[in-house]
Amino acid sequence: MSPLIWLFALPLLGALGLLFVPASRTVLIRRIALVITGVVAFLALDLLSDFDAAAPGAGGYRFVQQIPWVPSLGISLHVGVDGINLGLLVMGALVAFAATCVSREIQQRTKEYYVLLLLMVGGILGTFASLDIFFLYVFHELALVPTFLMIGIWGRGEKRGYAAFQITLYLTLGALVALVGLVALYLQSGLATFDLVKLTEHLAANPIPAARQAFIFPWLMFGLGVLVSLWPFHTWAPLGYGVAPTATAMLHAGVLKKFGLYALLKVAIPLLPEGAKLWMPWLAWLCLGNILYCGWVAMRQRDLNLLIGNSSVAHVGFVFLGLASLTVIGVTGAVVVMVAHGFLAALSFALSGWLYGQTRSLDMTRMGGLLQRLPFAGSVMVMAMMAGCGLPGFGNFVGEVLVLFGGWKSPVLICGGLLDFRWFVAAAAWGALIVAAVYMLRGIRTIWHGDLAEDWKGVVDPAGGWRKMPFVLLLGALLVTGVWPRLLTDRIEPGARRVVEAVEASRPAPNLASGSPTP
């Protein structure tokens, strides 16, 4: 049995198992969840170390296993990893473990909480392990209800009801629109299978007519875009993450959100190359909306979580830019940003969760000087915020720089060639280096530096290994990816290359009328 199956089966079975544990035994429940996510994280790391040794199967995937599910519709539980989803899986597993660690803050209704948490984790990891489009989608949707319930039950503040509904409705809308696109793709391929590997091979040889591609692609682009808070469909994210309990925000912003990007990268672009070429200029425009506009919005926030949320939306813009560039460097960079942003978003929300637990408020204007009381949390947060404004040494820098380099050489022309992609690179660099730095530094300045307000004399730093562990883990992961990026890029690049080559190899379907046989 492929270890990939255990990766998502363990949390799902764990969720099922927890149902039978009496609700009063909170410590036991917590420990079970910790053990399960810990084992999963270990398995994922083990996968990372075994990855290069495992023999690659069709399409460059490793640890492949396929179990027929609904044969008549061509659905099977097909798992396997290449570098791209390997990175996401490892990231997801580590974030899941960290999220379980920080869930100590949950005191009410712990059993329900951990059941939902494990369900969400299982769904997330299942998504990135799947090579079947149907399961890719299904696993992603598994997390929808837990998200809703977790925000509603354990969320903060009066707005949580509205936020829970908004996030649910928005995500549903995006998912459904994407589903229509996926089904259209499935039907149009004429292969009657949802198997990604087979579809990729088949469509490389027999592409869908360009006009159909151009029609199907926007369904995927906008549907998946909504899931990833593509501008202007982004407002659910800051609000939702702002009120969500820590672990939910970590998992959702860090990992689950990457689904849309992942599907865009693995499904939409390689299978609909002509559509991608046609629509990528639009995506480039919209991602500027993410990078610059949301960065500016973040500058004006008073609530720390809204700041982090908006900055997370802005970071996602880099992934879009990398994908839109349709170059190996850009796509690789996009995946690196996905992984690094996963760690970063999780770390940021974990820290803001701790802070909220201490201060019961995230209103930055009321804070100040907290670094004096919280040297550990403060230092880690400063580092996280530095990572957020693209400081070298953290994974985000590598990803963003790769995206910029890739974008510079992008063949994509915008407005029929009036605008070079390089202008977008310049604008994005402005967003990464200046706008991000402005809001991050302002955040550090208002929260951590300056005089310590009288209200916060009682706050305490995370003490003890277990409390510090999630922060250290995530920060360490960020550092490792930043210091030694080849850990990721060497594995990601072949996958990215396949995607880009699929686009480059595609030619508009030959015009039969004018096609004359050459002697």
């Binding site: 919005v297 004006r300 820098f397 690179v425 200046i434």
Partner: protein
């Protein structure tokens, strides 16, 4: 030991020390300091050892060693974590580690009472690591990486006393201003890579030497963008505003980072990548009105303007550290100007000597501040010479070096710059003027703070600093005196002159001691004489105004509003505040408004509300009355029939 290994040791030891202090020895103050100082000391010794196996002081032409690890390899982009060892980097290594060692030692005394002693040394070590990374970087991306790391360590050190609002603000400002420069730097790097397909210095140099037009129409733009990095890091006009504020950091930090090393990184980068700037002018079509202006022209003029502006500002400051900060700005402008005049060797020479005497001056100022319990206003000092003898004589040595009095090191290096500017009369005149101004404000500082009688009770109680702070002063004073004779100039000429395309001039180390002593008068008599004259004039002017130990500055009365403009730094801060407010902050406000009211409000909430209202209206159909239902059903059916059948 192989030189590559030594280089790795030099680079990584400070990082290891920073990590060890952060993770392990945060509570053991002495151990932390020892780790940090030890790392630098080993680095210094290793740098010296490198000269033996490598020969910084007797370099062979254009050779370098490369130690590299492939850091990133994606598609057509490869980036090495590469160390480039040549005479230039070796010289910088010695300077950075040497001055760094002095300042580390000094900090042990200066920071002794601080609660965050360990954190300070951790940050210093982190800074050393980043700075050495810049020095050793073999390609643009690596340099950019360490460039940013230097920026962040500077941020951490300026904001070291983060509980002080002014320090926190200054740190933020420094980082953001640097980021503006880095924005251009990064774009420049990408641009160069886009045209040449590599980021490696050696490869770019090779390509550009064989084909100076390889960058095409983007050549000058690329150079200017990369130069933006220097503008940020070396605080060149118009990004100079952060450096004076950076004096909020502890004084050793000001000495190390904001005088000797980090701010010099921009100049070092210009010298390192000189081949990129020394290209024929070429602009893309949309910028064709700039045709004919080369990157070096722009660099020279930016340097010149910075030197002048900063010198003018320095004249009317009353904070001892700020005077030195503006002086640093001014000298950095000098260096940049030298490079802009196609004499990177002169710029680099001044960089090294400046590091010695500016570090000395800052440490001396630190000693004063330490003795006066953090009093920094020179108008509350006076008569320090009597209370602080060692500090005073070392300070005087530094001042003389800075003013360019022979035979102090500053004379030789400044002379090189003046000579370089000779070819451009306007810049030359400007440089002479700045030289005069430099002497004027330094003499003013000396007369007001050290000479005369105490103006404040603090001074009377002042005691000389402990030995751990004084010894670095003494050593640096020696270096400031002798820096001109060590053959640094010759080394630099050998390394950089070919790059500048002028051939090795060969003067400097040739001949005996006296030949060296008087060399400037030999090869550029006009520059040397005028420079000396300006120095003398500046001193005379300062003497006439300040030697009588006035209680207040007599200058504002004579200069009127010009003095106010000087004092208020020509209102650049205010101007930038307004600029940021009408551009970036306004954009943020607009975006926020749109987001809040149009996107989240009108679009999202509006849709939700609209759908809700639709539902509420539509369900009014459900009146509960049976006959309404029957009527609706019948009417609906009739409607269907009508549409389908008619």
């Amino acid at each position: 030991m192989r030189p590559e290994t030594l280089a790795w040791i030099i680079l990584l030891l400070p990082l290891a020390s920073a990590a060890a202090i952060t993770l392990l020895t945060r509570r053991q103050r002495r151990l932390s300091a020892a780790l940090s100082i030890g790392a630098v000391a080993v680095g210094f010794v290793a740098s010296l050892l490198l000269t033996r196996s490598f020969g910084a002081l007797a370099p062979r032409d254009g050779e370098f060693l490369l130690a590299s690890v492939r850091w990133l390899e994606v598609g057509p982009l490869t980036v090495d974590l590469g160390l480039r060892l040549d005479a230039l980097s070796n010289l910088m290594l010695m300077m950075v580690t040497g001055v760094g060692l002095m300042i580390h030692l000094y900090s042990r005394g200066y920071m002794a009472d601080d609660a965050s002693y360990s954190r300070f040394f951790a940050c210093l070590s982190l800074f050393m690591f980043s700075m050495l990374g810049i020095v050793l970087a073999s390609n643009f991306v690596m340099m950019f990486v360490f460039w940013e790391l230097v920026g962040v360590s500077s941020y951490l050190l300026i904001g070291f006393w983060h509980e002080r609002a002014s320090a926190a603000d200054a740190a933020k400002k420094a980082f953001l201003t640097n980021r503006l420069g880095d924005f251009g730097f990064l774009l420049g790097i990408i641009l160069v890579w886009g045209a040449l397909g590599t980021v490696d210095f050696a490869e770019i140099q090779r390509t550009l030497e064989s084909d100076p037009t390889a960058l095409g129409a983007l050549a000058t733009l690329g150079g200017v963008l990369v130069f933006m990095g220097t503008m940020g890091k070396s605080a060149q006009f118009p990004l100079h505003v952060w450096l004076p504020d950076a004096m909020e950091g502890p004084t050793p930090v000001s000495a190390l980072i904001h005088a000797a090393t980090m701010v010099a990184a921009g100049v070092y980068m210009l010298a390192r990548a000189f081949f990129l700037f020394d290209l024929p002018a070429a602009w893309p079509d949309c910028l064709s009105f700039l045709a004919g202006i080369s990157a070096l022209d722009i660099i020279a003029w930016i340097g010149g303007i910075t030197a002048l502006l900063a010198a003018l500002m320095a004249v009317q400051q009353s904070d001892i550290k700020r005077i030195l900060a503006y002086s640093t700005l001014s000298q950095l402008g000098f260096m940049v100007m030298a490079i802009g005049c196609a004499k990177p060797d002169a710029g680099m020479f001044h960089l090294i000597t400046h590091a010695f005497f500016k570090a000395l001056l800052f440490l001396g100022a630190g000693s004063v501040i330490h003795a006066l319990h953090h009093e920094q206003n020179i108008w509350k000092m006076g008569g320090l010479a009597a209370r602080l003898p060692v500090t005073t004589w070392t300070f005087v040595v530094g001042t003389l070096a800075l003013c360019g009095v022979p035979p102090f090191s500053g004379f030789y290096s400044k002379d090189g710059i003046l000579a370089a500017a000779e070819s451009r009369p306007l810049l030359f005149g400007l440089a002479i003027l700045v030289a005069g101004l430099t002497t004027f404000y330094m003499a003013r500082l000396y007369f007001v703070a050290f000479a005369g009688t105490p103006r404040d009770s603090h001074v009377a109680e002042a005691h000389e600093s402990p030995g751990v702070m004084l010894w670095p002063l003494r050593w640096l004073a020696i270096a400031s005196i002798l820096g001109g004779f060590w053959g640094i100039e010759h080394t630099l000429q050998t390394v950089l002159a070919p790059a500048a395309g002028h051939g090795a001039a060969g003067h400097g180390a040739a001949g005996g001691f006296f030949a060296t002593l008087l060399a400037p008068f030999g090869h550029a008599p006009l520059a040397a004489c005028l420079g000396l004259f300006a120095t003398g004039f500046g001193f005379a002017l300062a003497y006439s105004l300040y030697a009588s130990a006035p209680a207040q500055d007599p200058l504002p009365a004579r200069l009127g509003s010009l003095a106010r403009w000087m004092r208020d730094k020509f209102y650049f801060d205010e101007l930038y505040d307004v600029l940021v407010r009408v551009t970036h902050d306004a954009a943020a406000a607009v975006a926020d408004w749109v987001d809040r009211w149009l996107v989240a409000g009108l679009l999202v909430r509006g849709t939700l509300g609209g759908v809700d209202v639709c539902g509420r209206i539509l369900r009014l159909v459900q009146t509960g009355n049976l006959q309404t239902y029957a009527f609706l059903a019948a009417a609906g059916l009739v409607l269907v029939l009508w549409v389908m059948l008619l």
